[in-house]
């Protein structure tokens, strides 16, 4: 089937306003009759719930965390982009749009991305009005910086905690609606299933993580704002609880999953120290502005870094990419690091790390200058590694960071199931095959504050409020299904812990479906994942009961979904026989190691439809049409 993204016709710059005028509205007096479920309270979820509540809808907001304020958007460091052009350096909505499309390696929809660039300006206004303490200059105006190699300074920031401040802004708006009674919060509540009645999303089934009670909520529409799936790699920069369950179970209920193979690996994270490692910590990419990346030329060289003479060091990025050197893009530097480590040149425990050396910069600029620029990062590095990066090089290694893929949505952010809307990182829509720095925050808030309030209204205006209740057989079946699945998990009583399975899955994913994928490695993954999944269902050990706070049971449910989802991801990666953005197939590269896109065959979105357990999912395509940009080849020579 060919999917229709439902993008409005007309000139690019007028599509959204034209669409807004055409959308149907819900009478203000009728809004309270509609109930909307919002799952997840990150930037997308909190901003959507707050705005919908304020408009007058009845909102039920769910999150697995103990407070809405803790969603993982909070960990974003760098900043948020907007096309304000305050610095007068030539930025514009079109330029932000163009950079985002190009950064995504031409695998996203023009209309969506243009709209994102348009509303980016409103986001900054909105957040400032909420009291988000953005950085200011001495005159009292907002400060901007250049980020992620952008040619203009369009990134707004609040120290190194922009995500935190934006999320707390959205959370405060949400808190205001909770006080007003328009939003009811359900923390420590995990979505287990989407309930579809007559082919429309009408509710969800959840588990109360404190009492273990499974119950369901009926509504007139459901918004999933449940973030990304990079924890399928086990080790990632995501929070421990980040999972694919909500989106994957919606997929199993008929929502299409688009481009799961687009995952972003961030090059500058703190390396793994051992098997006990539970998560990876990201260090801002800005470090590469002054650090030089190298490894010892001799394989397995265990000498301390300062004992390795200059001529025995391989500054491999500078060698391979003479013009960009240490500033080579995320995917290129990540792959290069993996290659040298695979060849045995890696440093640190386990040999999975490369040096990021500030020695030259310190000699050139002085330690104080470096401290001024990166002091907080050096402190964080020392806290975690106990190493002083002023005196010895940092050790870094790439880590999974963000997922561009997600549930397929049309221009209205509506999935293939009417009434199911997907926002933020959980959808696939705006970043194509690769996301630019400081664009994730922009997209989450754009979807929640400025897009969903319009598009969901248009959907609701065409439905009768309160059409179904939880007494409907679909709800009862959903609850029974979830209960049965939990009982089945608890009854296995095998010998391996959930973490062991997750770690093994992560290993398979990282080795075979990670930064550099080949048809062989993907075939290997597709062979091993189902084996591991079978073993999981025979041999996992979950202590405790169902009617209790049971963290192992929570993890088991999520890992069970990752064990299925990982296969879908690998399948998608195998089918996408080209390299683009975060998806790199070793068979498709330029002589210099750059990704080689195949615009003839793959200039489309690949969206997967679930066809039942044990059956092959079906791939649907949405052709990507570019009317306003020229499909160029990235080059960082």
């Amino acid at each position: 089937m060919i999917l229709d993204g439902k993008c409005p016709s007309g000139p690019l710059a007028e599509k959204w306003s034209k669409h807004c005028q055409e959308m149907k509205l819900v009478n203000p007096a009728n809004k309270r009759k509609y109930r909307v479920i919002v799952v997840g309270t990150g930037l997308a979820g909190a901003s959507a719930a707050a705005t919908l509540g304020e408009l007058g809808y009845n909102v039920e907001a769910f999150c697995y965390q103990d407070s809405a304020r803790r969603a993982h958007s909070i960990a974003a460091q760098g900043g948020i982009n907007a096309a304000k052009n305050y610095p007068n350096d030539g930025d514009s909505i079109f330029r932000l749009f163009h950079d985002t499309i190009k950064g995504g390696d031409f695998r996203s929809r023009e209309a969506n991305v243009y709209r994102l660039a348009m509303v980016s300006n409103h986001i900054i206004d909105q957040c400032a009005a909420q009291g988000v303490p953005f950085a200011r200059d001495y005159a009292g105006y907002l400060d901007n910086r250049s980020f992620g190699g952008a040619q203009v300074s369009r990134t707004f920031y609040a120290r190194g905690q922009t995500g935190q401040q934006l999320l707390l802004g959205a959370y405060s708006a949400l808190s205001r609606q909770v006080a007003a009674g328009s939003v009811r919060l359900h923390p420590r509540t995990e979505m287990l299933d989407l309930v579809v009645v007559n082919n429309e999303a009408k509710g969800i089934t959840v588990r109360d993580m404190v009492t273990g009670k499974i119950s369901c909520y009926a509504a007139d529409a459901v918004c999933l704002c449940t973030g990304g799936y990079t924890n399928v790699f086990y080790l990632s920069t995501n929070a421990m609880g980040s999972n694919v369950t909500a989106t994957y179970r919606a997929y199993k209920k008929g929502a299409y999953f688009a481009n799961p193979c687009y995952t972003q690996i961030h090059p500058t994270c703190i390396p793994v120290t051992g098997d006990h490692q539970s998560k990876l910590t990201l260090m801002s990419e800005s470090l590469r502005n002054d650090g030089r990346v190298w490894v010892p030329k001799i394989r397995g060289d265990r000498r301390p870094s300062h004992d390795i003479p200059e001529e025995e060091r391989d500054y491999y990025l500078e060698r391979k990419y003479p013009s960009f050197g240490n500033l080579a893009p995320r995917d290129i530097s990540s792959r290069a690091a993996k290659e040298v480590c695979d060849e045995g040149h890696g440093v640190g425990t386990g040999g999975r790390g490369v040096y990021l050396d500030f020695g030259d910069a310190i000699r050139r600029l002085g330690e104080d200058k470096i401290r001024e620029r990166y002091g907080n990062l050096f402190d964080m590095y020392e806290k975690i590694t106990d190493e002083n990066a002023y005196q010895q090089p940092m050790r870094i290694y790439p880590a999974p960071h963000y997922s561009m893929g997600g549930l397929w949505v049309d221009y209205n952010l509506q999935s293939s199931i009417p009434g199911l809307f997907v926002l933020g990182e959980a959808n696939f829509s705006d970043h194509g095959a690769n996301r630019l720095g400081a664009s994730a925050l922009m997209q989450g808030l754009a979807d929640g504050y400025f897009i969903i309030p319009y598009t969901i209204g248009s959907y609701l205006a065409q439905t009768k409020p309160g059409a179904v209740s939880t007494g409907n057989p679909e709800f009862i079946a959903s609850v029974e299904g979830c209960e049965a699945s939990i009982r089945r998990l608890l009854s296995i009583n095998g010998r391996k812990t959930v973490n062991e399975f997750h770690r093994e899955l992560g290993h398979i994913m990282w080795e075979h479906v990670g930064m550099a994928r080949s048809s062989d490695s993907l075939a290997e993954a597709l062979r091993r994942i189902p084996e591991l999944r079978t073993e999981f269902w025979e041999n996992v050990k979950i202590p405790g009961g169902e009617a209790d706070l049971n963290q192992e049971l929570e993890k088991a449910g999520r890992v069970a979904d990752f064990l299925e989802f990982g296969e879908l991801l690998a399948k998608d990666a195998l089918l996408r026989n080209e390299s683009c953005g975060g998806h790199f197939r070793v068979e498709h590269q330029m002589p210099d190691g750059e990704a080689r896109r195949d615009d003839e065959k793959f200039c489309h979105v690949g969206a997967w439809e679930f066809k039942g357990s044990g059956r092959e999912p079906e791939l649907h395509k949405e052709q990507l049409v570019f009317e306003n940009v020229h499909l160029a080849v990235r080059s960082y020579k």
């Binding site: 400032a128 009005a129 200011r136 808190s175 205001r176 006990h276 806290k383 706070l549």
Partner: protein
């Protein structure tokens, strides 16, 4: 490293709870404290026992979920460090470590080391916001904010809402948490309009949620993983006095 742990185990809110002893072996100094607990839990699960329940999520010191009192100190021995960023190199081979949940009337224990901190959310709901609608706001540069005020607001806004201040306070007071939000918004023109109302509502909510009052020990700022300053409490008091003035 080999360690002796005494961990608070409590089946549920109605259970009495007790400290249980665990002998832990082969811990490496580069493990984080929570990874050490992961190792303990893997062992417990294999032995057919219930693992220790504890709250955690981002494990990079920003979400504010982790909440453990280690040897009597919320977030453990390292200053300005949340438990999740504490590493075992802060301990020595043979150490005995006591791990307890946050303790305060407003934070009832749910299970083991997990407490219910929703009282902090309710303080926020009482007034920890600017009553602005989505849309219809002026251009972000239309309202100038001096760098000093923006920096003060950011200093206060860095609070991660973990509740260590409450756990450390001899009075179980949430003054530092509440003051950080009051001070953050009071420092900005956008938040000034509602400042008087906000400070009254938020301090009232704090009392109603069962938190104690401040008696100026400053244990809160000493344990705060973000180093939020107790001078924000003075700022809250100042805002409260202003709110009592005629015409407010």
């Amino acid at each position: 490293m080999d360690l002796t742990l005494y961990v608070w185990r409590q089946k549920g809110p109605d259970d009495q709870g007790r400290l249980e002893e665990y002998q832990v072996k082969a811990i490496t100094p580069d493990m984080s404290f929570l990874e050490m607990l992961d190792v303990v839990n893997e062992g417990l699960i294999r032995a057919g026992k219930e693992p220790i329940a504890f709250d955690h999520d981002c494990r990079e010191g920003i979400c504010g979920t982790c909440s453990q009192v280690i040897n009597g100190m919320p977030h453990g021995p390292r200053e300005k460090t949340a438990v999740c960023q504490l590493h075992m190199r802060s301990f020595r081979d043979g150490d005995t470590i006591y791990i307890e949940p946050w303790r305060a009337r407003a934070f009832p224990v749910i299970k083991d080391l997990i407490v219910d901190r929703s009282a902090l959310d309710r303080i926020m709901q009482s007034g920890g916001y600017v009553s602005v609608h989505t849309g219809g706001v002026p251009d972000a540069n239309a309202v100038l904010i001096s760098k000093a005020d923006a920096d003060t607001a950011m200093d206060a806004a860095e609070c991660i809402g973990c509740g260590a201040c409450v756990a450390a306070c001899p009075n179980g007071s949430a003054m530092l948490f509440t003051a950080a939000k009051v001070a953050h918004l009071a420092a900005l023109p956008q938040g000034r309009t509602e400042a008087a109302r906000r400070v009254c509502l938020m301090t009232e909510a704090m009392l109603k949620q069962g938190f104690g009052s401040c008696s100026n020990h400053y244990e809160c700022q000493a344990v705060c993983p973000k180093g939020i300053s107790a001078t924000f409490i003075a700022k809250l008091n100042r805002e409260f006095i202003k709110a009592q003035m005629p015409g407010q």
